[in-house]
Symmetry: C4
Subunit: 205 residues, 4 copies
């Protein structure tokens, strides 16, 4: 069966198209930056094709990859960062959507702060992240150094899997967030980007 | 009579859906943040359901609560902060709409300023607030410390009721504004957010 | 003849509705701030009704005033600042549109700078203003102190009429710009707001 | 054959109209600023007419010029900066689109930095520019002093042709970027503007 002919696939692709438009509206997918994926209930993984603008996706810009990140259809080319998506899906079967975007706040904060993590504390919006019930807490958001060797970058990320309720940043690059479905992943992305924007403002005083 | 079947209810729900979209456009309801309510002329209170994105509300995301903040329909779950809405309605029978949003300016200002209030002075836009006829005045906007115990937070807010023409802030959390109808509440929200944005800019020099 | 029944009036009102939506998109008419007017070829003046949101105008929110700023229709209420519009129309018969908005940049800059004017120099965009053919120039934008007595404010503005190619600011309040038609007035508004945004950024270093 | 009657021309004009709307959405073509062009496969060059708002273009606002920048139709008036477009087309036959916009970030950065170039380093988004395969690089973006004599400005730009993978800036004025087609030029514009916004933020600490 052609993977794009069924309804489950179509809904997953629509999720990705809609999320891309939303991220573009906020300025988080400039140029051809960013990549978005969804895992269907049957285990198939849908991800954005390499090189297209994520704010103006068509369903045909969504391709299927296997759990190792290889395109199912010969000739399809997935994003260079596909392994960071499949790493998350392999780690946690509850994850149904992964989003990666580039915002000015994430890019600048990760470059001006030398620390290996950004600590977010005291914000009501922390409650959007998994397992948080109060603002009287702090969340550690790791910042990993950027690496064009994505397999190697994945091994650096690996030890932190399961301990990143708000996702993570790649220095000078952007954020990775996820959720059980696209709405959850988008809500976490909006929450994290809001808090990074707050942190960047607080750096200016 | 089913509360959602009548025209008064439908108009109130439309007010909430429209205001949520407007707040989202301005970036004031990231993730699932914010809550919006309307009191109908017959006294019923319509408020946003807990957990949904306020920028993409459907009429079904608007539920009815009683004056004590309890959902009228079993199984409905109102926002955790419902008591801050009903407190305002109980205080002043002229209030017909209450809005709560999270902006970067309100969040950051309330965290970088240690004072129990922000004083806004000299702005023409102060005239949008109740009882103000000139810019040659100053308005005190209380900043209450955040508290996950909303009943307790409400008792902290209570002594200030009737003395907050521009609404109030919760530290690291957001703003509460209100008005006789949704247009008035939205105008005050826009006025307050504009002035907070101005204040934040002035902190940067 | 009813002033709203003819085509000339209708086009003028449409100009105002469209310009209000544009200004709202840019965040320059928060709450019920701002006012917009057009002078028709036959001399009639159309201006926004007092108290409505300028981003969501209907044609019925546009009323006719006489050259002294009095509403033609009993019961209509024009903006408190109508005299600043009629002053411009009386000064220069070539003016066909006047716009007043409130931006964060104009508000903050006019409050943090104590000088009676802002000087804009070296920007290519200066060429959008009347009589400017090069960036190698500087334009003086007067900043008048705010005053709730608009007639008195108008007498303060009067001596500068004819010497303000980029419009003027009222401190803590906003900008006034004009042009031979609405497109020209909007272009100058966009040009001035862009340059004020640049100046505000330059204050932050 | 009338140049506007054929399909190739129509598609080129649509590219320009769409790119103008996009640039306006981002705030990069205030007032009547900016100009946009496309070279068709048959060598004809389509460019925006002088003086119109680039965010609200109609196909009639796109005119044909010859390789020396002269309008093909008597009475048409091309942008004053047409020569900077034709210079790029003459330099590299692979260029199919040129975009010039004015952003706050480009304007301010080019005015506050005295250097003859801005160096962008360490950003993942550098990969959007020609010939870049890693973030571990730096790109030099020349900043040329503004000049109302465009022929003279072109001679200043000329020696850098072929060495500007991310385009160039004109001081106090804006950016020039290009690509083999409109999508590529837009992606590079978004990439460059994103990085300039990052650089401006980093100046504020």
């Amino acid at each position: 069966m052609n993977s794009v002919a069924d309804r489950g696939w179509s809904l997953a692709a629509q999720d990705i198209v809609r999320a891309g438009a939303r991220m573009d509206q906020r300025g988080w997918v400039p140029a051809t930056a960013g990549n978005l994926s969804r895992r269907l209930e049957d285990g198939r993984i849908a991800i954005t094709r390499s090189g297209c603008h994520k704010g103006f996706l068509a369903q045909d810009d969504v391709i299927e990859i296997d759990p190792e990140g290889r395109p199912r259809v010969a000739g399809d080319r997935a994003s260079a960062e596909t392994l960071l998506h499949t790493q998350l899906y392999a780690h946690d079967p509850a994850i149904g959507a992964v989003l990666h975007g580039h915002s000015v706040a994430a890019t600048v904060l990760s470059m001006i702060l030398a620390e290996p993590a950004i600590r977010l504390a005291g914000y009501e919006l922390l409650k959007v992240f998994e397992g948080q019930a109060t603002h009287e807490t702090s969340i550690r958001v790791p910042v990993f150094d950027n690496d064009q060797d994505i397999a190697r970058l994945a091994t650096v990320v690996a030890p932190s899997l399961g301990t990143m309720p708000a996702g993570y940043l790649i220095r000078g690059h952007g954020v990775y967030v996820w959720g059980r479905d696209m709405d959850m992943a988008l809500a976490r992305l909006e929450g994290l980007e809001f808090l990074l924007a707050c942190e960047l403002e607080r750096q200016k005083r």
